[in-house]
């Protein structure tokens, strides 16, 4: 679905269902150098179980017009503006990695619009090493290869994503290259700097009024599970631990669905 958000074209995948004007809504927010297609199984499940679904492409990513926005705070405002554009009063906000910080900040800025918060593959702070930032700046292809290797914990995650026969490392790499190549600038470095710079997470967590749920991968080395302790405490969040690397929706799609369902029941 195409929307006009803050005066620019924005895209949201609706889970294979025609958009309707009322009903509960789930917003899925992707991570760095990704797009809506990391959510399609979950999005389809919720779209076919009574929810309206908006799996967004962030500004400058995939089908959404740029430029990319400079901070988690700006992206949170963009998500709230997207809800306005779609005429959605409140929604469950589900984010992965960088998208989880955006969901957190959006829920803090407009608590009345957050029916629930689900942070997948998250950590706070989400610091990125100087060396990786430098590689992202100087050699994005190399940085993509590194992040791709960091993000997957297995050579055989079943039943694969979006289905059998898919080679996850290849799919993730191809998606990052597609998003990077289609962007006007070095989007990879941009997104990593947005993650690295976000400093308002604990304060935002203190302002959350909805239920919060964290879903972490026990083999995640990008956002290690131990890096969520303070966030989970302040959020009073329930935490699901899944055997997976950082690419949780791809490595463990059923486990992630089951975990999300505890937070957002059908």
């Amino acid at each position: 679905m195409k929307l006009d958000v803050q005066g620019r074209g924005a895209y949201a995948y609706t889970g294979g269902k025609t958009w309707r004007e009322d009903g509960p809504c789930v917003v899925f927010i992707h991570g760095a150098l990704n797009d809506h297609s990391v959510w399609t199984l979950l999005a389809r499940w919720y779209a076919h179980h009574g929810y309206r679904v908006l799996a967004v492409d962030q500004p400058g990513h995939g089908r959404s017009e740029g430029p990319p926005l400079a901070s988690v705070e700006a992206l949170a405002d963009w998500v709230l503006a997207l809800l306005d554009a779609a005429n959605v009063p409140s929604a469950h906000l589900v984010g992965h990695s960088m998208g989880s910080l955006i969901a957190l900040e959006a829920a803090a800025r407009a608590p009345e619009r957050a029916a629930g918060l689900v942070m997948v593959g998250t950590a706070y702070p989400m610091k990125v090493s100087d060396a990786l930032l430098a590689t992202a700046r100087d050699d994005p292809d190399r940085a993509i290869a590194m992040v791709n290797a960091f993000s997957h914990s297995s050579l055989a995650s079943k039943p694969s994503y979006p289905g059998p026969g898919a080679w996850l490392r290849g799919g993730s790499s191809a998606l990052m290259h597609r998003i990077q190549n289609d962007a006007a600038g070095n989007l990879f470095e941009h997104d990593f700097r947005v993650c690295d710079a976000y400093a308002g997470g604990i304060e935002a967590a203190g302002r959350i009024t909805c239920s919060a749920h964290l879903i972490v991968g026990t083999r995640d080395v990008m956002t290690p599970a131990k890096a969520t302790k303070e966030l989970a405490t302040v959020l009073h969040a329930t935490v699901s631990r899944i055997v997976s690397g950082h690419a949780l929706m791809q490595e463990a799609p059923d486990a992630v669905l089951n975990a999300v369902r505890t937070a957002i029941p059908a």
Partner: protein, 433 residues
């Protein structure tokens, strides 16, 4: 900054797509000989059918053993996924049928396997799909042949019968300038010798019957996608970028930014045409795939020794192997195939058809049959077998001489192969009398 990367080729050949079986602890990939898979509930069934969950429903569409093979080939090719098929021909058909239909056009190399040529030249026109054939080395001809209805460019990494080296980077550029993907038949090279995706190809298929299996026991094929081609931006592929009534009005390019092609190929092509691979076949090919790096290294080493022997033999007029300076694609092969040019090649015997027959019949180790890529060495004499109805002039037009012999060099001791060839050449020489 040094850092991690994906495992290397030899590791992927053993591990990609497979892990110890969680149900039994079995270390080797289990063979799941089952047509279908039990649903946990009606809701679970519906979610599988509707692509809300990933999983197996029916083995024509997917199977756990077959999926290991598919994922492993995708990993070795550097792609995003693959679909196993009943044969290499089925893989080619699946690629074409997914993105072309009546009114579509293909540009293909003239240097193709006969089965591929038959499909394109004689069978597909009956379904409204036309093909223009171009000489693979003529880059301008590739460009000139592209029409508004062109959906695909197609060539073999090493072409039949002369081992023309496909200039993948340049032909891919021609294809992409026109918004068309390049499909490469990489059967002769395998990903160990060349990964066409790294050179710019968009889709790759194999007759897995050949080197991927290596044992000469089963017939199979596989089609892999790089995930790089932007089907929507091209504007030529409504099959992928517009709602498909045959699957819940799914728009495949929205569903998967990089995997639209494989989604449709599996959800339509395997579902409707049904040319799937048996899990038993997949399991057998996996046994071969595990040793692909070792076998290809030996195939190439043996081929080089046999080529060197033949090239210096007085009964041999010429050897068509791109590593020889006499081959027209020698320089290109050095650039695109640095690990070697495989182990299938042809040479021309001096003399008559009768001498060619005498040579074939005198061979002891080489098996006279119509296949390549076996661990055993193979031979065929086109003038007395596959092309026996042609006179010498017609043979020449096809690039085949009365004494042309095609060899597929196996994994035997190369000295034994050379001794076998030497004795047979002697017999052929005597047959001139």
């Amino acid at each position: 900054m040094p850092g991690p990367s994906d495992p290397a080729f030899d590791t992927l050949a053993l591990h990609a797509g497979a892990a110890p079986d969680p149900a039994t602890g079995a270390r080797a990939t289990p063979l799941h000989l089952t047509t279908s898979f039990v649903f946990e509930s009606s809701e679970h069934a519906a979610s599988l059918f509707n692509m809300e969950r990933a999983g197996h429903v029916y083995s024509r569409i997917s199977n756990p053993t077959t999926a290991v093979f598919e994922e492993r080939v995708a990993a070795l090719e550097g792609g995003i996924g693959a679909i196993a098929t009943a044969s290499g021909q089925a893989a080619l058909h699946l690629a074409i049928a997914t993105i072309a239909g009546a009114g579509s056009h293909i540009v293909a190399s003239t240097a193709l396997y006969g089965g591929s040529h038959n499909l394109l030249a004689y069978t597909l026109p009956r379904f409204g799909i036309e093909t223009t054939f171009v000489k693979p080395r003529d880059i301008d001809a590739w460009r000139a042949a592209i029409r508004p209805d062109t959906r695909l460019l197609l060539g073999e990494s090493l072409g039949n019968p002369g081992l023309d080296v496909l200039d993948i980077p340049r032909i891919a550029q021609v294809a992409h300038d026109a918004g068309v993907p390049l499909l490469v038949d990489a059967t002769f090279t395998t990903p160990w010798l060349q990964q066409p995706f790294k050179l710019g190809a968009d889709l790759v298929f194999h007759s897995a019957t050949k080197f991927l299996s290596g044992h000469g026991t089963v017939v199979g094929g596989v089609l892999a996608d790089s995930g790089r081609f932007d089907w929507e931006r091209s504007g030529r592929f409504p099959e992928l970028s517009e709602p498909y009534a045959g699957f819940h009005d799914m728009v495949f390019t929205e569903e998967s930014t990089v995997g639209a092609f494989l989604l449709r190929a599996r959800r339509e092509g395997l579902r409707d045409f049904g040319a799937c691979m048996s899990p038993h076949t997949a399991w057998l090919i996996l046994q071969g795939l595990e040793t692909l790096p070792l076998r290809m290294e030996r195939h190439v080493a043996n081929a080089r020794k046999v080529v060197a022997f033949l090239a210096s033999h007085p009964m041999v007029a010429q050897v068509g192997y791109p590593e020889l300076e006499s081959h027209p694609d020698h320089a290109l092969a050095q650039s695109l195939l640095p690990r070697g040019c495989g182990s299938v090649f042809s040479f021309d015997l001096r003399g008559s058809r009768a001498q060619g027959v005498a040579f074939i019949e005198a061979l002891q180790l080489f098996s006279h049959l119509a296949n390549v890529g076996d661990c055993r060495s193979l031979v065929i004499h086109p003038a007395s077998t596959t092309h026996f109805r042609m006179d010498d002039a017609a043979l020449a037009a096809a690039g085949i001489g009365p004494g042309t012999i095609r060899l597929s060099i196996g994994l035997e001791d190369p000295d034994d192969l050379i001794a076998d060839l030497k004795a047979a050449l002697k017999t052929a020489e005597r047959a001139a009398a």
